[in-house]
């Protein structure tokens, strides 16, 4: 239950770059990745991997673990994509056998699809992970405010971000305390303990609500949750050049194909 993505994003080496630049860069590469050919998509995945592991200094092991999460989803979908069942024979069968009147086969179109999905997933996921690893949520929120996201949404996002960590630490504390009294020993006790934990968490959520109503009122709450963040960033010319040149090359190759 440890949100290590958040921790890493606050500590990465590209932290001082303006979040606007990082988000813009990721969005442009993402759009290219969506329309590019598989080979270019692989190139994008490698290029962004370099940004994440070498420039941002995110441990390779952690980056690969996160990549395996996306690949895992792809893996469990593979059978549905490449296996086929038909009455007799199928036109795009690569390999097949029949049991009775049912014909089981490997679909050629399915295999192609699986490959296309894999390269697209790898490239777009790299763009997403680039943002997650290099831009803390607090800075994404500032950009959302700048681009005129509805105010009620940015307020809710700010509060939710704070509350997630409060409730998560409450849940973690309760979870540990239950373990110290040997909760979660059997499946039945597991269920019972988890239901107690969720219920307590709910009650604490309500308690927090009452307390926050008081504490925000004490600080002059006037109907809005507005804050000011005076953060300044240091743009880097070296990274800007690499990013724009790279995007340009990718775009040219994609369009001239």
């Amino acid at each position: 239950m440890h949100l290590w993505l958040d921790t890493l994003s606050h500590r990465n080496r590209l932290r001082q770059l303006p979040p606007q630049h990082k988000l813009l860069f990721a969005t442009i590469v993402l759009l290219i990745a969506l329309i590019a050919t598989p080979i270019i998509q692989i190139a994008i995945a490698i290029w962004l991997g370099i940004w994440i592991v070498i420039y941002a200094q995110i441990p390779c092991r952690i980056y690969l673990r996160l990549l395996s999460l996306a690949i895992g989803f792809w893996l469990i979908s593979i059978p549905a994509l490449i296996l086929g069942i038909a009455d007799r024979s199928a036109s795009d069968a690569v390999l097949g056998f029949s049991i009775g009147s049912t014909y089981f086969y490997l679909s050629q179109q399915g295999i192609l699809q699986a490959v296309v999905i894999l390269t697209r997933t790898l490239s777009t996921v790299s763009c997403l992970y680039f943002v997650l690893f290099t831009t803390p949520f607090t800075e994404i929120l500032q950009v959302l405010k700048q681009i005129r996201c509805p105010e009620v949404l940015t307020e809710l996002l700010m509060l939710m971000y704070r509350f997630i960590f409060i409730l998560l630490s409450t849940a973690r504390e309760l979870w540990i305390a239950q373990h110290s009294r040997n909760g979660y020993r059997s499946v039945r006790r597991w269920f019972y303990s988890l239901s107690l934990l969720i219920s307590q968490l709910f009650r604490k959520t309500m308690e927090n609500y009452q307390q926050f109503v008081l504490s925000t009122a004490a600080r002059g709450f006037n109907g809005e949750f507005r804050v000011y963040s005076p953060r300044t960033y240091r743009p880097s010319r070296r990274y800007a050049i690499e990013a724009s040149l790279g995007c340009l090359i990718l775009l040219l190759i994609s369009l001239c194909r």
Binding site: T138, R162, I166, T216, A217, A218, R219, G220, F225, V227
Partner: protein
């Protein structure tokens, strides 16, 4: 006086017994006042009443002679003058970074960015938080969170600062650091009212002591006069700090033996700050 309670009664909705009953007390201006009493004697409720967050069912509360009217405008004004730091910083900090959290109160007052920026920078520096300015709240330690919750309120420059058990869970070092910070705040003319269970701290720190017992005023006065009422304090199950106990012993011994150098030296050790 700064804040005055007159015959105040408050009962939590849905409960029978009033937590505060017929409380009449005044917070002396520009002093370090300590509020002591049993758990459940109404200390926290008193703070919430003082900040206008609860409205008493009976009696009145007045700020600088002016009775609170509980309309929006006067409440906003009151909460600027009377700053409340909650017991648990977890339930006070709401923004995602330290600097943002400190800016919240100022934003509520409608300050512009150019006014807010220097105020935050100053406050961060005052509370030793400059390096943590852009850290998310959940990365801070308890001591740091407590400092942020104090900075949150002090940035609004209140005239009266209410503190609910600020030393709980703090180690001796952080307690000393807090004492220093409070000294600066006091020196700048802010009235402080602090609830605490640490009687030794009360004796050393406070200029004035208010003792609550089941929602009413049991005793008030300087630490010397309050802690001299040993029988009342024992009856309230509060007791007196060790220092007071020793001083009364020393006074007693002095009567017997005269001003012996031993007595003098021990007295000096008990009051390291006084000449």
């Amino acid at each position: 006086m700064s804040l005055a309670f007159d015959q105040v009664e408050y009962t939590y909705p849905g409960t029978k017994n009033p937590v505060i009953q017929g409380l009449t007390v005044e917070i002396p201006i520009a002093k370090r006042t300590a509020l002591i009493g049993q758990n459940g004697c109404g200390k926290t409720t008193l703070f919430l009443l003082a900040n206008g967050l609860y409205k008493p069912q009976r009696g009145t509360i007045a700020w600088k002679g002016q009775t609170l009217s509980y309309d929006r405008r006067s409440l906003i004004e009151l909460r600027q003058k009377v700053g409340l730091v909650f017991q648990n910083p977890e339930q006070q900090l709401i923004a995602s970074t330290v600097a943002e959290d400190i800016s919240y109160g100022l934003c509520n007052l409608g300050w512009t960015e150019s006014e807010i920026e220097p105020a935050i920078a100053k406050s961060l520096a005052e509370f030793g938080l400059t390096e943590l300015a852009h850290h998310p709240i959940h990365h801070l330690s308890l001591g740091q969170k407590k400092r942020v919750s104090l900075a949150d309120v002090m940035v609004l420059k209140p005239e009266l600062l209410l503190l609910d058990e600020p030393t709980a869970y703090l180690d001796p070092l952080h307690t000393r650091m807090l004492a220093q910070t409070l000294e600066t705040i006091h020196a700048n003319g802010t009235t402080i009212l602090m609830a605490t269970h640490d009687l030794e701290w009360v004796y050393r720190w406070a200029d004035w002591v208010i003792v609550l017992d089941r929602g009413t005023l049991a005793l008030e006065g300087t630490p010397q006069t309050v802690f001299a009422q040993k029988s009342i304090l024992d009856h309230l199950k509060l007791g007196v700090p060790l220092t007071i106990d020793l001083i009364s012993l020393l006074n007693h011994l002095e009567e017997q033996h005269g001003n012996h150098p031993i007595i003098h030296q021990i007295r000096e050790r008990l009051h390291p700050n006084q000449p």
